[in-house]
Symmetry: C2
Subunit: 346 residues, 2 copies
């Protein structure tokens, strides 16, 4: 564990302490999907402004559109923490315009169901160009973050191609199936077509991006924000080596339920959970991660689930989990860090 | 020469004639650069609305920017004839916005001196994606023209990479030289740095795009619009086979001077002519093409140049050559077609 001597001025990383005292900077590593994860991270930075936060971002939602490499989850983290997010929807750029998309439509271009805004598109142009020049996605992400200064170190889960595909019925009548890109199922079909299976294409061969395993191994706390457990947290843990690293780290591992009262906080996690046969409950999601969790936060409406979760060996506490604003979200993050300290002390 | 029987309704290609009369559709093939060529072509379509016009477009100005394949001259023809051009400047899209370019600037992207508008950028996205999928530029251009319906068949001079590079002094003091892309010299340096030589990278190995040689061989008239002779018409003729095809075709070949009274009509053709040691005069440019021209139009202010041009074996007529509006431009085109008929009859 690194530490830093904080001077008597009280300026610098770490809390204000007497001169000569050695203060450890809390190192937090979080696994994050898109909107839910990003909003939680913003609360976390408010709750622990002096912490060194590393975010391992999901890239299995990445998609190539109009020849551009789009990384929706990485960008949502970057824009949210960097102050560029469209707050009303939780994704995309504030003040966005759509001139390029309109023109692409006039050309009859495909994938009109996934509209890229003009401002957002510049990010994908820079990313695509850097990837074409041979930079790995992790280096590209670092370069993009140079501009956004998200206040965290953002690392993609892998530099390799992993894509979440959803297996659906090919037609109405027969048993034939077809696999479609997660974004097509999620954005174009609004997850209304039943998902029979979720397939993580390329996950078997993927390697964690540089820094991922180290960030987990040397963390003081590992957090699982309230992201979609199947298509956000799931793919990160599916990259060979990451789940084992989370299990092996000495840091307490605490997660927050993305399910409140039997429904997803946002999005369509229920449709994804159904595909893998997991009940849409706070306890059901905890069970998915029971092998690696030390602590699990459920919402107060799910207080009765704590016993079930604790029976699986995971310390479980019920606190308000609606991210209604900066204060409530920071309180959630604080509760997660408190739970981490509690399980660490055990 | 193909011909079409025009029915008594008077509807169809060709002029209105008595039933049973066979009317030949005039087939015109023009070599075109960007702004000057495009404006002339608009006048040509007004002067000869029933003609079948094939345009062989310069691609040596093409440049890769932000990973996108930009074909400025092809696009200027397409936008001008398709009604999408920004009339005030003669290039780019009408009603253009620049959200992507501003964002690229915020990322510190290179080549900010060549600003791509949002609307325009969609064209480059479609082109780049089709090229990456393996379509040749000629097929891509045809696909883009499906939308724009320019009223001509637009064919790039080649599907191969040819790039105009400009050799300039590397520094102030020594004799060292460096070659820069034409666009960098033209757009970033405003052609203010003296061009020592013009180099057409790749021209030796390039092949004419499908349809180019046939359009020249089967044309009734071949036109050289008032485009930059060095960096617009020059590269087209430099593609092996094209200059020979123009010389060999039985069609009369008529050109229009882009120089009026010793100055370029627009742009910086004088700087380019200086680089190849050709005087910036109507007669000087005619001499560049004397081996293939049957007729040459100069402006009325250059009437005294006609004798010089005719001495080189090229019929030369002085008419107003300022493209001040649709009527004057159509009159120029009509004069060119009249000159073609005159030299054909000789």
């Amino acid at each position: 564990m690194s530490s830093s001597g904080v001077s008597g001025t009280g300026r610098g990383r770490g809390t204000v302490v007497a001169p000569g005292t050695v203060v450890a900077v809390l190192r937090i590593t979080a696994l994050a999907g898109g909107i839910g994860g990003s909003r939680f991270l913003r609360g976390l930075l408010r709750a622990a402004p002096d912490a060194e936060v590393t975010v391992i971002g999901n890239t299995a939602d990445d998609i190539t559109l109009h020849g551009l490499h789009v990384s929706p989850d990485l960008d949502t983290v970057m824009y949210t923490l960097g102050g560029g997010i469209e707050e009303s929807q939780g994704w995309g750029r504030a003040g966005e315009t759509f001139a390029v998309a309109e023109e692409l439509g006039a050309y009859g271009a495909e994938a009109q169901w996934f509209t890229l805004g003009d401002r957002d598109l510049a990010t994908h142009l820079v990313r695509t160009q850097m990837l074409a020049a041979g930079y790995p996605l992790s280096a590209v992400t670092e370069a993009l973050c140079d501009r956004w200064q998200p206040g965290v170190r953002l690392i993609p889960m892998t530099d390799d191609r992993v894509e979440t595909h959803v297996v659906v019925a090919a037609g109405d009548d027969d048993g034939a199936e077809r696999a479609i890109h997660f974004q097509e199922w999620w954005v174009r079909l609004h997850a209304e077509v039943p998902a029979r299976r979720i397939v993580l294409v390329g996950a078997d061969q993927a390697k964690p991006a540089p820094g991922v395993l180290d960030a987990i191994a040397t963390a003081d706390v590992v957090l699982l924000p309230p992201s979609n457990p199947v298509v956000s947290i799931g793919p990160i843990l599916a990259v060979p080596g990451i789940r084992d690293a989370v299990r092996a780290t000495k840091a307490p591992k605490v997660g927050l339920s993305p399910i409140i009262g039997g429904s997803p906080v946002r999005g369509m996690a229920d449709a994804a959970l159904k595909a893998i046969g997991v009940p849409t409950t706070a306890a059901g999601v905890a069970e998915l991660f029971a092998d690696l969790l030390d602590g699990w936060l459920v919402d107060t409406v799910d207080a009765e689930a704590t016993a079930t979760v604790e029976a699986a060996g995971v310390r479980c506490v019920a606190v308000p989990l609606w991210m209604t604003g900066p204060d409530t979200t920071a309180a959630m993050a604080r509760a997660a860090l408190d739970l981490a300290e509690e399980v660490r002390a055990r």
